[in-house]
Symmetry: C2
Subunit: 143 residues, 2 copies
């Protein structure tokens, strides 16, 4: 059973300095900050910058500054420097999507949905199962 993707929800980008990243994307591209939060569980301080709205929901550039070097994004920065960390796609139901993907033998990072940005329910799939791309499924709070 396939898991239909409703949209590209966001591009997750690792940055060393969140404020500098926000300045860059707002000054070059006029993006606006839809929300800022600290996610201790993921070890990041982050901002969601709106790119556009679509019927399936908005799309964002998500900037991620690690809370310390010994976090997933901290290790990513040390190994690769700033750049794209993951891609988030919209789905209607994260829990059902995880069940369907598990049945297909996809390796999951998250066995069950957890708290994401802007109140969304999210889960990560392992890059080994998605062609080297750390892939996030996003069920937005809006619907």
């Amino acid at each position: 059973m396939t898991v239909p993707l409703t949209r590209i929800d966001h591009v997750g980008i690792a940055v060393r300095d969140l404020n500098a990243g926000i300045d860059l994307y707002t000054s070059l591209f006029g993006l606006t900050v839809a929300g800022r939060e600290t996610n201790e569980a993921q070890g990041v301080r982050e901002a969601m910058l709106s790119v556009a709205d679509s019927p399936g929901g908005a799309s964002y550039v998500q900037l991620l500054e690690p809370l310390g070097p010994d976090t997933p994004v901290g290790r990513f920065l040390a190994a690769r420097g700033e750049g794209v960390h993951h891609i988030g796609y919209g789905v209607d139901d994260v829990a059902a999507s995880l069940a369907a993907l598990r049945e297909q033998g996809v390796r999951l990072v998250d066995e069950r949905p957890r708290h994401g940005s802007l109140g969304a329910s999210i889960a990560f799939l392992h890059p080994k199962s998605v062609g080297g791309v750390l892939t996030e499924l996003v069920q937005s709070a809006a619907g």
Copy 2:
């Protein structure tokens, strides 16, 4: 002057084998192939897979297989393995966007628009100027 982004147009993903990549994204996520082409100038064989439609235009996963090791995507694969290669954002006018970004001191890969996927007019910005992200501006053929 900022350059407004109208949407996340596509995520460009480097793959070793285009057919295997297409099989993966169609079987897991039910994406459909909107177009396949070979771009000799960029040294890639590629496919655009539709994720969703939005008022600003469709969004895609773009899979890129290098035509040889001595191409940008071939060198990317050798250095980093499969994964996200670049992000493409929609703009209304690529030429005007390049002029505005050049004035802001942004380093450009392409000084003028060139031919992209599905008949689009495109240009790349250097990752040094966009927080480590190879960034593509896309003016789609549809409008």
